[in-house]
Amino acid sequence: MRWGSAVLAAMVAAAAGAGGAEAQGRPLSVSGANQLTFAAVFPGVPEMVSRTDAVNAGAFQVRGANTKEVLLTFTLPAMLSAAGGRSLPLQFGPNDGGWNTQNDLATARAFDPRVNLVVRTSQQGRLFLWLGGTALPSATQAAGAYTGTLTLTAAYTGN
């Protein structure tokens, strides 16, 4: 065995056995598809966005190798912020997440976004996720725009 070939073979074997970000030559990627929007919120009145709300629910897409197991982790904001140090609390519950191997929100399966999700990509290497939540304005909540960030992290498990 020549030196270069041995090195390359070792690298491929290690990557395939350990489930790295690349599997079978197709890299794993995540992209944000829609912002989570609480459109009309009033002081003292909680506002819930359902994960099945096509317009306002947050959405992500995952692309990777076919039928590979992926570990998904959400970083959920506890509150949104506005100018002047104002904050608006958010709450996420066990049914606020939805996932599907097809881009079909209506048939998505519910999951708790507060804990890790382990699922397999589709035959085409795709996953679709949606996220709802609840805004909890106080009775004295000041008017204005509040913003925050929602993050999804994905990694192959090797299975």
């Binding site: 990557a15 350990a18 204005g144 992290t153 090797g158």
Partner: protein, 176 residues
């Protein structure tokens, strides 16, 4: 030659040990989250009934909007300092089945205030349009309070029963 083979194998093994770092490689994406708080919504809440209680035939019963404990009370919330117009569609009689009983509203049948209790409210005749400002304060102190009374006049031969009517109160901002 042998030494070269040993070195080669050691390098391959080292690479195999290093390679597992790639197994925990993660990819991340983010989307924004936004919420818009609006404090200009118009809301109306009913706090208590207008109740004339037990009426003796032939004896009118009046509920004073400022002093009557059974006056009806509304609480309006909206944009601070916004001007609102309140219009009341008032009945002229109550009815139960075929029987009716006259009801009238006068200068002490309506009362309003931006804050505080009923005692200090300002009289207005609910048959006229009331144009006033919502309290100039942030929620939840952006209120406007309304009390409603009136007078029923049962006849001496008034039939027993439950007499009912509707009052419709319309609220609108004048500035749009």
């Amino acid at each position: 030659m042998r030494r070269r083979r040993v070195l080669r194998a050691a390098a391959v093994a080292a690479l195999a040990l290093l390679a597992p770092v790639a197994a925990f490689a993660q990819v991340t994406a983010a989307v924004g989250v936004s919420a818009t708080i609006s404090t200009t919504a118009l809301s109306i809440a009913q706090q208590s009934d207008l109740d004339f209680g037990a009426a003796v035939p032939g004896v009118p019963v009046t509920v004073n909007a400022r002093t009557g404990a059974t006056a009806g009370m509304y609480e309006i919330h909206g944009a601070r300092n916004a001007e609102i117009a309140i219009t009341m569609a008032l009945p002229t009689q109550l009815s139960t089945g075929f029987w009716t009983m006259p009801v009238t509203f006068g200068n002490t049948s309506g009362c309003w205030r931006r804050q505080g209790g009923q005692n200090g409210c300002n009289f207005w005749n609910p048959s006229t349009v009331l144009v006033e400002r919502i309290r100039n304060n942030n929620p939840p102190n952006n209120q406007f309070l309304v009390w409603i009374g009136g007078t029923v006049t049962p006849s001496a031969a008034q039939h027993t029963g439950v007499y009912l009517a509707n009052i419709t109160m319309s609220v609108v901002y004048t500035g749009n």
